[in-house]
Symmetry: C2
Subunit: 197 residues, 2 copies
């Protein structure tokens, strides 16, 4: 049996890709980030709610504000990365549903009138999109260094003071340096993770 995805693409996205800890000085442009988003945006979310928001931290001032909320162990490589993206869930995604899901005109009222319902679906579906996005970074020929070691509450106050967005993952993005990679840790076998009934 063989996958439909060709071996080069399998290696680029999965087998030979690694979480990167350090990067070259080559800049990462907004055009590259847009290209990554445009690649992954067709991938599915529930009711097409598309709650992922990407905040690209590049300027010195924005980096300074970010680093104050990043766990100490993640600070040096985050400070040195060309860009860091805050990957967050927009709890007000329902304001765009008349565009995103016009086939169900009362979706926003019927399902998402309640903030808790919005938050649960925003977090789950933004996380799916973060999975797509991390592979999209690799599809662009760049390396991703995702992190959850940060103070989400403090970071959200700093960058999303209106309470609309909840940060879920930070990701450093750039060309990997020669010393970028730690050895890969073992993964579960399919037989450990998959059960059939």
């Amino acid at each position: 049996m063989a996958l439909s995805l060709d071996a080069v693409a399998q290696n680029l996205l999965f087998h030979e890709a690694h979480t990167a800890r350090s990067f070259t000085d080559e800049p990462v442009t907004d055009e590259q980030i847009h290209e990554i988003y445009d690649l992954i945006k067709p991938a599915p979310t529930a009711f097409n709610i598309s709650p992922l928001r990407v905040t690209v931290i590049r300027s010195e001032e924005a980096k300074r504000r970010l680093l104050a909320h990043v766990a100490e162990g993640n600070r040096p490589h985050t400070a040195a990365a060309p860009v860091t993206a805050i990957l967050s869930a927009d709890l007000c995604f329902h304001e765009k549903l008349s565009t995103l899901f016009p086939v169900y005109p009362t979706l926003a009222q019927d399902v998402y009138g309640d903030r808790d319902a919005r938050e649960a679906d925003a977090r789950l579906n933004a996380a799916l999109q973060i999975g797509y996005f991390l592979l999209g970074v690799r599809a662009a020929g760049l390396a991703a260094g995702p992190m959850t070691g940060f103070d989400a509450e403090g970071l959200d106050k700093e960058f999303f003071g209106d309470g609309r967005q909840k940060s879920l993952v930070l990701v450093n993005i750039g060309r990997p340096s020669e010393m970028a990679y730690n050895p890969r840790q073992p993964r579960l076998d399919a037989t450990e993770a998959v059960t059939s009934l």
Copy 2:
């Protein structure tokens, strides 16, 4: 500018892929599901916790147990799909950390002694892996029909009575039939989802 991922792979995974509503009778084997898992398992999770578990529902008896907890609108195409996978988060992932993250031998005690801490990280990281898995289904040349319209509490009692696993997404998997696809809904432009600072 161009992505590193070739155009055929871009189309297979993103541009030309659609959520499928109906499938041919061609069976989906455990080998195919294992192959999908083996493809996506290197993609990153925090501390390599790898909390995604896949429960493949194929037998008539298992389908019957599943359908009782699926939203009415999702029942007909779920009943007809060759297989449905329950994609769940294992809250007891910490039991495997001595294998998965041996470089930090006290991780399970230091970070994941508390069930709430485990549940939050299990849900977020399993959702990232679900993003990878849905693309993996497409990489295998199959179509995915993911759904969140189901009674998670009831389904978890039925299939995960010991409380270890929380179901997050169901996904029908198979070869798409000729009538599999609804028209694609619009997506957000990169300029709407991406901000630079």
